[in-house]
């Protein structure tokens, strides 16, 4: 139809602009890895300890994601056994680690498990059997602990998917199996787990990618004992001048390929729609068996992942200096004052807020448009829809650190030379989050249903009227929650920010790293707590707008 061609041009424009933002930095960077007959790979082979680096990356990806899947699935199962009195809080509790930015959690753990002055280590050395030790018994600066901490950080993601899967499944299907004479173990093996398989596979893919691109924990924990992964090697490159982009591209290449394979395998194993549509057989009858020990398991998890690191951060932020001894009488607010009086740090916090807000102002309408396009089965040409789907998936498959490295390369040279300005942060944030903003609003649109829009058209409402009076009011909650959650994720952002920051454009994550390398740990604790506070406020706004379900969308 002739008249249907005109609107396509607008969608095509979106594809071109977003495609440029998302694909161009990666393509251009990877091109550098292969010119000169792949000499970048030769340089990569000549890097000191490159074998160890690759091995650590692989170990970290596999072991931390395996740990995350085990812990996350077990937690989801425990949550399904929670007694009713603690059910509401208990189901949300495993999500709370997501509120603590990774960089803050890792810092908290350093305060607890640093071999000499970690608070937990000091306390353990008070025990009779360990009293002879000078340091330890635990050394957080090892691959083992990087894997453990990364696995714990990622387990919340697995919990989100598996818990949602369990919830949607309801108890009817398990009850039906029991009525057929199946034992609890048989039910678990023949009904529950097979039905959860899509959730578990999807979650495993997500955490494997996150483990593969893991940056925060290896960077902060690996420095002392010179443990590196591919992403931290890339970061080290950005600190030298001139930056060897070809080498960085070569380092990122295996991650990119792994990401591609994982996303393909996920799509093959699940099919596209399965991610959004779950077999539903919900019953109003709540005839679960409940167990109090399940609440205990979740409590311990919450204590380890959230409460202890936050306590350590709070204590260090109020101590004169981090010495490892717990003396309550000498607490001081000096570090809070010095952080709040330091224009560089305060500026960085403001830059974080400003760039995030500007990025969100662009991300929300753009993501809404892309989500809307994905839902149009006939009115938008299929190639355009496929391109939009691809662009909404790609940023989720490429680790933020790698994306950041590519963006640094793309925006330090013509045609778009914006490195050193706040604009590069805004563009980086948009690139990182466009997939997220699209997917979240897509689920909102799917839940809203097409009928309301059709009813508006049938009543004579034109496109603008339908959008303003029907679609936007109905999606208000989902859009608001998406905005608040995107803000939280951007305020947390550490990996890509660290790559594209410059002396003049610092954000909270990047100054925190500087303060950390400078050894002023008390101020690191203050900054980490500011991150947590702003996050809590953001999440509260999201929950206030979109209900407690929106927490699971992180």
């Amino acid at each position: 139809m002739r008249r249907q061609v005109a609107p396509q041009i607008g969608w095509l424009l979106i594809v071109i602009v977003v495609g440029f933002a998302v694909v161009w930095p990666i393509v251009q960077l990877q091109y550098r890895a292969f010119i000169d007959g792949g000499s970048a790979f030769t340089r990569m082979g000549e890097l000191p300890r490159i074998g160890d680096t690759v091995r650590t990356t692989v170990i970290l990806a596999f072991l931390s994601s395996a740990l995350a899947v085990l812990v996350g699935t077990f937690l989801a199962w425990c949550a399904s056994l929670l007694p009713r009195r603690v059910q509401k809080f208990g189901e949300l509790a495993p999500l709370l680690p997501l509120i603590v930015p990774a960089v803050a959690a890792v810092t908290g753990w350093i305060f607890l498990l640093s071999p000499k002055v970690g608070y937990l280590n000091m306390m353990l050395r008070q025990l009779p059997l360990l009293s002879g030790l000078e340091e330890g018994p635990f050394d957080i600066y090892t691959v083992k602990w990087i894997v453990l901490i990364t696995g714990m950080l990622l387990s919340s993601f697995v919990y989100v998917f598996v818990h949602t899967g369990l919830k949607n499944m309801g108890q009817e299907l398990e009850a039906a199996a029991a009525a057929c004479g199946a034992s609890p173990v048989r039910i678990l093996l023949t009904v529950t787990l097979p039905l959860l398989r899509p959730s578990i596979i999807f979650a495993a893919g997500v955490v494997f990618l996150l483990g593969m691109g893991q940056f925060t924990a290896p960077l902060l924990l690996g420095r002392t004992s010179r443990i590196d992964v591919l992403t931290t090697e890339m970061f080290h490159l950005t600190l030298r001048y001139p930056i060897d982009y070809g080498l960085g591209a070569a380092l990122g290449f295996p991650i990119l390929i792994a990401g591609f394979i994982v996303v393909m395998l996920q799509k093959l194993a699940l099919g596209e729609q399965r991610r959004y549509v779950v077999v539903s057989a919900r019953s109003k009858y709540d005839a679960r068996t409940t167990r109090w020990w399940a609440a205990g398991v979740i409590g311990v998890y919450l204590l380890i992942t959230t409460v202890l690191p936050l306590l350590a951060l709070t204590y260090v932020s109020l101590s004169p200096f981090w010495s490892g001894s717990l003396v309550m009488t000498e607490l001081t607010t000096r570090h809070w004052k010095s952080v709040l009086d330091n224009p560089v740090l305060v500026n960085a916090v403001w830059t974080s807020i400003k760039t995030s807000v500007i990025a969100i102002a662009i991300l929300i309408p753009l993501g809404f448009g892309m989500a809307f396009a994905l839902l149009q089965s006939t009115r938008i040409f299929k190639p355009i829809r496929m391109a939009i789907d691809f662009l909404a998936t790609l940023p989720m498959a490429v680790p933020a650190s790698l994306m950041g490295f590519g963006l640094l390369f793309a925006y330090t040279r013509p045609p778009i030379q914006i490195y050193g300005t706040a604009a590069v942060l805004v563009v980086t944030y948009i690139t990182l989050m466009i997939g997220h903003a699209t997917r979240l609003q897509f689920t909102t649109l799917v839940a809203t249903g097409q009928e309301f829009l059709e009813a508006s058209k049938a009543c004579g409402g034109g496109a603008l009227r339908s959008l303003l009076q029907i679609l936007l009011p109905l999606c208000r909650k989902g859009i608001g929650a998406t905005a608040a959650l995107t803000f939280v994720l951007l305020f947390h952002e550490f990996s890509a920010s660290l790559m594209v920051r410059s002396a003049r454009t610092q954000v909270i994550g990047s100054v925190m790293y500087d303060v950390w390398t400078g050894g002023v740990y008390s101020e690191v604790a203050v900054l980490a707590l500011i991150m947590v506070l702003v996050t809590v406020i953001g999440v509260m706004i999201a929950v206030w707008i979109g209900g407690s379900e929106s927490l699971k969308k992180i």
Binding site: E454, K457, G460
Partner: protein
């Protein structure tokens, strides 16, 4: 005058199997008429309705509303839904949950730029028509299913559209409410006199409401006629089956008329002009039973002997008998006040010529 004219409409869904949902359909709806599209799920009736609404884009054909084309594939013209001046009632009502009843019903009037004073009057009037004048300030979530249905109808009626499109509007209601609203809808149609297309899979709904009824099959109109015509003379075996005519006899003319339930007896004169094979359809309530030893009645009816009662199902005012006649299962329903038979009884069945629907090559040839 024709309010709506659909000519040679084709709608094919993309995808591997290329389902043709609407296959070369022609229909005309006269002003004030209610045309019912009747058929099982998947026959294309809803797709046809949505094509008229402009919610689906057809590939071929032409749709004209009040003499003006709203869709014409030959010149690639496709008027957007909101400009077609239609009123539509959706199966799940699709009342906007964030708007009150008042806002929902006045929405189409606002969209058409009707002045505020006129708007209020129209909303008030139309809510009176559907007997919901007291609900103006409620949100849809505070309404019962029946009330939601009435509001959805009011919303569609409010702008006095050229045509009303109703997509299974009663199918989400429970049985009693459905009967009540069916009568109400019929009264409103008489009172307001709108032109409409009504989609349903329920034949009683279709016969109650339809000025004319179109039975659809695999994207085509199988039969189009008044309710009476469709009920009395189903044009094809498909229509007869869809209407629930359960007794089917396959007849062969080799040495008299043999059916798959035994030799056909009685007055066979009217079959003399016909050649086999034939299919004979008889409604269960048109079949009469007598004691098995009786002879076949001679005038104006057909008869089959050698039957045996398998089961007798009491269902209130009627008894439904399941019979085995020469190896075929046949069904008879009789008024329960009549002589009762018991399982095992030997019976003979008779039915009048006028109740036998005879098909040759899928065409009705009797009567």
């Amino acid at each position: 005058m024709q309010e709506l004219k659909v000519e040679a409409l084709v709608k094919q869904y993309p995808g591997r199997d290329k389902v043709i949902a609407v296959n070369n359909v022609d229909i005309e709806v006269q002003a004030g008429e209610m045309l019912v599209l009747l058929g099982p799920s998947g026959c294309g009736k809803t797709t046809l309705l949505r094509c008229v609404a402009g919610l689906e884009d057809a590939q071929q054909g032409k749709i004209t509303l009040e003499g003006k084309a709203v869709f014409d594939a030959s010149i690639q013209f496709n008027q957007p839904t909101h400009l077609r001046d239609i009123g539509m009632v959706f199966q799940n009502y699709s009342l906007w949950p964030h708007m009150t009843v008042q806002r929902n019903v006045e929405y189409p009037l606002r969209a058409r730029g009707v002045a505020a004073s006129e708007r209020d009057k129209r909303v008030k009037d139309v809510l009176e028509v559907v007997q919901c004048g007291h609900l103006t300030d409620r949100l849809p979530a505070m309404l019962s299913g029946g009330q939601q249905q009435r509001i959805a109808l009011a919303r569609a009626l409010a702008p006095k559209p050229k045509i009303m499109l109703l997509d299974e509007p009663l199918s989400n209601l429970d049985a009693l409410l459905r009967v009540e609203l069916r009568a109400h809808l019929r009264a409103i149609h008489r009172e307001v006199g709108f032109t409409g297309i009504y989609v349903t899979h329920d034949q009683i709904e279709a016969f109650n409401l339809g000025t004319r009824v179109a039975v659809m099959r695999a994207g085509k109109i199988e039969q189009l006629g008044t309710a009476r015509e469709v009920y009395d003379r189903p044009a094809t075996e498909y229509v007869a089956k869809f209407l629930g005519i359960r007794n089917v006899l396959a007849l062969n003319s080799e040495g008299g008329w043999m059916s798959d339930a035994g030799r056909l007896e009685g007055d066979l004169g009217i079959l003399s002009a016909l050649k086999g094979p034939l299919q004979m359809y008889v409604r269960p309530n048109a079949v009469h039973m007598s004691v098995g030893s009786e002879a076949a009645p001679s005038g104006g009816s057909f008869s089959l002997g050698g039957g045996r009662v398998v089961d007798a199902l009491y269902s209130g005012g009627e008894i439904d008998y399941v019979l085995d006649v020469g190896g075929q299962t046949l069904y008879v329903s009789t008024h329960s006040a009549k002589t009762a038979f018991n399982p095992g009884d030997a019976v003979r069945i008779n039915f009048a010529h006028r109740d036998a629907l005879i098909y040759s090559n899928d065409k009705l040839v009797s009567g």
